[in-house]
């Protein structure tokens, strides 16, 4: 098999509308300089996905978005920012089951890791945001999070001594709007690319995995077929390919993974689509840096990866919308009527956990361009 050597896409394109216009303007009043930038990522990530045409990545847009991401003025009492619950060292999670908002309010969902967001669609566990731009504003105004009406957030930024000029450079206007705030934050979040884990180094043939990691990887990407003794951990059916995230098409990246019985099933995607067949379906998160993002699941119910493996192996609850790729996955021949179990052995579970640790990307969690610009 041929694996791609990594070649990062480079490419910095001057954003000046046209060479002639720039030259003329420069003579009298220099235009604020901003350059369009191309998202840098490993070649083997899908390369045919465009950024939104109305929000291309620019150097100054990303820079502004980074400031806003770390800006505590965007919370009601100035106590927290996006980064409070999305901490770089924890792959942009906070280590809590539920995050604390202003005034000690507590959320109902686990803070999601932020990485490789360009290659995913629909945001939040229930998929209620169709774009990253749409997602970016919701935690600001959410009463259980930053609890600041977005109009008030815009007023604060407009009255700031620094921000209007930065919006002017990034977007050509110093009239700040909710739309531009969302665009800037979304640009910064798009640059959060994790692509230098040991898994990536293995893909690039720079390293070999240990035997147990290798076994774990093979199990991870295999759906078992007991009748031919093809053993599999059944993870890759939902956590697809190099990205280990969900299907980008339509709502196909949402699955019911058997956490609860019908009686206790959380609504999930049903809350967005209104369809009963979507009840209990949640967004498939990327597993990159998963060893850093405990606790796990939409409600943070599992504190370790071992517990997660135990769930998929032994404790899947059958319910009306359980994904059939989980329903029909076992390493042993199952008689009709028997509970859904994967039947991995302990060594196989350990191997999958070992593989999951290869998804940790030290470069990503220490990259200075993602860190707090106010420090």
């Amino acid at each position: 098999m041929s694996r791609y050597p990594i070649t990062y896409s480079i490419g910095i394109i001057m954003v000046c509308t046209s060479i002639w216009a720039c030259k003329e303007e420069l003579v009298e009043e220099p235009l604020p300089q901003n350059t369009e930038i191309e998202l840098q990522h490993p070649d083997y990530f899908p390369n045919n996905i465009a950024s939104p045409s109305d929000n291309p990545l620019t150097e100054k847009g990303v820079e502004l978005g980074r400031m806003l991401f770390y800006e505590k003025q965007l919370s009601l009492d100035g106590s927290i920012s996006c980064a409070t619950c999305h901490q770089q060292a924890k792959a942009f999670t906070d280590g809590e089951q539920f995050s604390l908002g202003v005034n000690g309010t507590i959320g109902v969902k686990n803070a999601m890791s932020l990485s490789n967001l360009h290659w995913t669609s629909r945001f939040f566990w229930d998929g209620r945001a169709e774009s990253l731009e749409d997602q970016a504003l919701q935690p600001i105004s959410d009463p259980t999070e930053m609890n600041l009406p977005i109009e008030e957030a815009v007023v604060r930024l407009q009255n700031d001594s620094d921000y209007p000029a930065r919006f002017k450079v990034a977007f050509g206007t110093d009239q700040i709007s909710a739309d531009l705030v969302s665009k800037a934050i979304a640009q910064f979040m798009r640059t959060l690319v994790s692509g230098n884990s040991r898994f990536d180094q293995w893909i690039k043939e720079e390293i070999v995995l240990t035997d147990i990691e290798q076994l774990g990887m093979e199990l991870f990407f295999t759906h078992p077929e007991a009748s031919i003794e093809l053993r599999g951990g059944n993870c890759g059916d939902c956590h697809l390919g190099f990205l280990t995230s969900g299907d980008r098409n339509d709502l196909l990246g949402f699955h019911n993974n058997g956490l609860d019985s019908d009686k206790n099933l959380d609504s999930g995607l049903e809350a967005v689509t209104g369809k009963s067949e979507d009840k209990g379906k949640f967004k498939v998160p990327t597993l990159r840096n998963i060893a850093l993002t405990a606790p796990y699941m939409h409600d943070g119910r599992f504190s370790t990866l071992e517990e997660v493996l135990d769930h998929y192996n032994e404790h899947v609850e059958s319910n009306a919308t359980l994904d059939i790729l989980i329903l029909e996955a076992s390493n042993e021949i199952v008689e009709p009527g028997q509970p859904v179990k994967l039947h991995l052995n302990n060594q196989e579970k350990e191997a999958i956990v070992a593989f999951l640790h290869t998804l940790t990307d030290e470069t990503f969690i220490t990259d200075p361009s993602f860190s707090d610009p106010f420090n």
């Binding site: 899908p46 599999g232 196909l252 029909e328």
Partner: protein, 247 residues
């Protein structure tokens, strides 16, 4: 631009087509439109139940497959044209149409494969609809799933059960499940060569996965995940016989 094209055509018409007023452009645009049926009924993925050849009830939720190596052939002179880098994911829930440009010539045969040839199957190349992070990837060790059918089945009031068919080449050294489909265009009056644009309607009958070479009776299967091994070969041999027909 349109006017220019018309002028060019007119000029060409005067200069080179004295005898033949129906001068053809250099390429024929071919549109292949795929439609999917199960037991003769149009496929829907919204909970509608169908009857399998075995008589069992089946409610499909996913049906998709890769089409590759499209080749047009003139059986008289042996000329062929193969679409380079043509890897098309046809998905009941997504794209069901292929538009290609074929050099103008007379063709009376069309063939294509369901699946990915070995060279690309074990690569991370992103050509056409190939994407090593999409839902059709098994892993880059075993390559792509060539054809996917998933759904729920029912037999004598059994509890909720799924059927998962992921057909590909489990053994990367083998191309056993990489199946070729050939069509005689002239027999359906579709010979290419005298038209600037041709539309071909291809219908895929999902029942063909379950019968033909060897019958698949779902409730008798030891495992209703078919991922490789003999059962996958049986399914591929089945559908090779009569999956597609030109309408």
């Amino acid at each position: 631009m349109k006017n220019l094209a018309i002028i060019l055509l007119v000029v060409l018409g005067f200069t080179s087509c004295k005898d033949d007023m129906e001068e053809m452009p250099a390429e024929i645009q071919v549109n292949l439109e795929f439609s999917h049926v199960l037991d003769g009924e149009a496929l829907e993925l919204n909970g509608k139940a169908y009857t399998l050849p075995s008589g069992e009830s089946f409610t499909p939720s996913k049906f998709k497959y890769y089409i590759s190596n499209l080749t047009f052939e003139n059986s008289q002179n042996g000329d062929t044209y193969t679409v380079a880098d043509g890897y098309y994911l046809i998905d009941e829930a997504g794209k069901k149409e292929i538009t290609i440009e074929v050099p103008t010539a007379t063709y009376d045969k069309l063939s294509y494969y369901v699946g990915i040839d070995q060279a690309r199957n074990l690569s991370t190349d992103q050509v056409g609809d190939l994407d090593p992070s999409n839902d059709m990837v098994w892993s880059w060790k075993t390559g792509y799933k060539f054809l996917v059918l998933e759904g729920e089945w029912e037999y004598e009031n059994s509890e909720r059960r799924g059927l998962v068919m992921h057909i590909g080449n489990n053994d990367p050294e083998s191309e056993i499940n990489f199946k070729k489909f050939s069509f005689d265009l002239s027999s359906v009056g579709m010979s290419l060569g005298n038209k600037a644009m041709v539309a071909l309607d291809l219908e895929a009958e999902i029942s063909s996965l379950f019968t033909g070479d060897s019958d698949i009776i779902v409730h008798e299967l030891e495992s209703t995940s078919i991922m490789g091994g003999p059962l996958a070969i049986t399914v591929a041999n089945n559908y090779q016989k009569s999956l597609f027909s030109i309408k």
